[in-house]
Amino acid sequence: MRLPGWLGLSEALHAEWTKTRTIASTGWLLLAAIALTVAVGAAAAAATGCPSGAVCQVDPAKVSLTGIDLGQAVVAIVAVLAISNEYSTGMIRITLSAMPRRTVVLAAKAAILTGLALAAGTAAVLASVLAGRLILSGHGFTAAHGYELLSLGHGDVLRAAAGSVLYLALIALLSLGVATAVRDSAVAIGIVLGLLYLFPIVANVVGDAQWQRHLEQIGPMTAGLAIQATTGLSSLPIGPWAGLGVLAAWSAAALLAGGLVLGLRDA
């Protein structure tokens, strides 16, 4: 008998990868995530114009990456289904019988999802930046008007693009953690989208500037998407990398809760 590798992680990874890639919906959903991200980003760029003579404060990188707002929902679906499908079909009992180390199972799922989100995110972000570059330069946001062409060679734009890819990966981990904790796919996706979308909406309504700032600092979406800003960095409620750190903390907390519940509960 061949001994398993380190804690059986490579076998677990192999098993999870097989499960993930042989579900038809995974591929379609990831394609949809890419297509929707690019489409919304292109639409936002196309809607952005600056009347001649007016002073417009446009953040070309942020506008081009608007699609992440929608794409993250699809990534969340993929991540939620990765675990809750197992519960709905009863597969989880086979999985845990085959690999009794539950932390390893969760780690393998997290690793596979991170890889998928990074791959889909890279494709989506590159296409969005390219679309934004083409569309925005056609709308007068050119060097002649004081706007630099959107280029990954620019440090802040590269940070925004790379950060958006990481953002999607962290959203996948957050969703996996929540779905592991609550098991039901509908409830899990409701909680994830609620966590993401409610913070900016409530922050917008609350009149007090202090409260507003705090809400934007702790919200996983508002803080995480600070990574996309390339202009007006000083007026951001939270710094770009610190914001991504807040999201990472949310994801870690969700995975921890999911891991604890997975370890303590009967499947």
Binding site: A47, C56, D184, Y197, V205, Q210
Partner: protein
């Protein structure tokens, strides 16, 4: 075995058992016996209330941190604007050159010029340059008293909107267009007859056109009548794409020249008095000069409905108490989707459709059950949030007054929004049959457009369209204060007023339209596909 021992199936005898009422009862039983779903709806009510209270309470701390602002001990640390005859908050500050008028009578004037000063540039030192704001106004007015907020009717010339007749802050009728110059003056006339006031305008003083006639209920026998000038605050709106819109607000003033003032009726004082009405709410700039029959009146301020956000962000509307709708909506969408997808997951759908083979009726029964449950949820959550949020905010921060009818529309409209969204979720759940995808689709189509359009990621024009055609248009039912054509303000969905491009019920109709399409598609697929 003889044929007599087998009783044949006769559908005619069964009508009582498989009628629609039975179907409804079956679906209701399915719904109420799943504890998680009932808990989900209770959670929806609680988060609607909780976030509403947060919205009301989170806005009040700014009030405490402000020092040196206008203070009124009885109302906390804000100055409440006066309330007009219709119950709405108003600005009522202008310079008034007046005389009492007893009984019926009329006043006629000729206006030969309207000029003004507006702020130039930004910065702490306010410099003025010649110019007029679009709604700078001057003319003649008949007002119940000098009390701000009292009933009035006025004929006026404006900078950019021609001659207008306005009454009781919300009424606005257009007269002759065009700006006034010395070469092209305007005659204005107001006639009082009992409670009725009629306004006329003329370009030559001989040919008169009636602009409007209004009834001011409860007008006292002796009213204040005369000349006025007012100039609303100057607003420079800078649009920062991807970061919202900002308005710079600073006072402006205007100067109007009147001559040929003629009075008819009983004017017991016999001389003119000039004073600034509502100085506490305006800039207090104003004055008048009389030389022969020629009056020069300088004024500032506005006689118009007040709009949210102009008091420097320390006011809010009832809409803020309903911010929890989004959270409640997400919980209801999850429950409504599971109401159908759980049947597919457990295979119960085959039993359901065997027991009641007419699939359209099954979907209808489910829609009625989940729609009603969601309506009650939305009603309870919205009513509780509006009532308790109002109590929490009262005295700490200024809440724009709205009529009980408006409040009822907002609460009932929110309940309808939640109910229709639940039916949409049911329909999408029937179409895709998978919980995660269905829940995500419904949340994304309702909440994400709101986020993009209102929380200012998109430029104003695009945001307008997003809030017209997507299901998020339904949040127009939560708009508290209407948009007034006669007030220049930042009417954006993300601003303090929460202005939507569509009228409240029209916005809800957009959501209903999308839901109808989804239900129709669900019906077709439910009939066509194997369960």
């Amino acid at each position: 075995m003889t044929a007599s021992t087998v009783s044949p199936y006769r559908p005619g005898q069964q009508t009582g058992r498989d009628g629609f009422a039975q179907l409804l009862r079956a679906e209701w039983t399915k719904f109420r016996t799943v504890r998680g779903w009932v808990i989900g709806l209770v959670v929806a009510v609680l988060v609607m209330l909780g976030l509403g209270l947060f919205g009301a309470g989170g806005s009040s701390s700014s009030c405490q941190s402000t020092s040196g602002g206008p203070a009124r001990s009885d109302q906390g640390c804000f100055t409440a604007p006066p309330v007009g005859p219709g119950g709405e908050a108003v600005s009522d500050s202008f310079y008034f050159v007046r005389q009492p008028l007893s009984g019926n009578g009329s006043i006629t004037v000729r206006v030969t010029s309207l000029t003004g000063l507006i702020p130039s540039g930004h910065g702490p030192v306010l410099r003025m340059r010649p110019g007029l704001v679009p709604w700078a106004k001057a003319g003649i007015i008949i007002k119940a008293s000098t009390q701000p907020g009292s009933a009035y009717a006025a004929m006026m010339i404006t900078a950019d909107h021609g001659v207008r007749m306005q009454d009781n802050f919300t009424g606005d009728a257009a007269g002759q267009p065009g700006a006034v110059t010395a070469a092209d003056p305007r005659w204005l006339r107001l006639t009082r007859s009992g409670d009725t006031i009629t306004g006329y305008d003329s370009a030559d003083g001989t040919h008169w056109t009636q602009v409007g006639t209004v009834a001011l209920a409860g007008l006292p026998p002796t009213v204040q009548a005369g000349l006025f000038a007012a100039s609303p605050a100057y607003q420079a709106i800078t649009r920062s794409l991807g970061g919202g819109e900002n308005g710079t607000i600073a006072p402006s003033q205007d100067t109007a020249v009147f001559d040929d003032v003629s009075l008819s009726g009983t004017w017991p004082a016999g001389r003119w008095t000039g004073d600034y009405i509502g100085a506490a709410y305006g800039s207090g700039i104003g004055g008048y000069r009389q030389a022969g029959g020629r009056f020069t009146v300088i004024g500032s301020g506005d006689i118009a409905p007040a709009v949210p956000g102009q008091a420097g962000g320390e006011d809010l509307t009832v809409t803020v108490f309903l911010v929890g709708t989004f959270a409640g909506l997400i919980a209801v969408i999850v429950v409504a989707t599971m109401f159908i997808t759980a049947e597919y997951r457990r295979g119960l759908i085959r039993t359901t459709l065997t027991a009641s083979p007419r699939r359209g009726r099954v979907l209808a029964a489910k829609a009625i059950v989940i729609g009603s449950a969601a309506f009650v949820t939305g009603l309870a959550g919205a009513a509780a949030a509006v009532i308790f949020g109002g109590q929490l905010a009262r005295g700490r921060v200024y809440v724009f007054p709205v009529s009980w009818l408006t409040e009822l529309r907002m609460v009932a409209g929110t309940a309808a929004l939640v109910a229709v969204a639940a039916v949409l979720a049911l329909a999408v759940g029937t179409i895709v049959r998978r919980s995660a995808a269905a829940v995500a689709v419904v949340i994304v189509v309702i909440v994400l457009p709101y986020l993009l359009g209102v929380v200012s990621v998109l430029p104003a024009g695009a945001a307008d369209w997003v809030l017209r055609i997507t299901p998020a248009a339904a949040f127009a039912v939560q708009q508290a204060i209407p948009q007034y054509a006669q007030v220049t303000a930042l009417y954006s969905p993300g601003g303090p007023g929460g202005y939507f491009p569509l009228a409240p019920w029209a916005g809800l109709a957009v959501l209903c339209g999308w839901t109808a399409i989804a239900v129709a598609l669900a019906l077709v697929l439910l009939r066509r596909r194997d369960a």
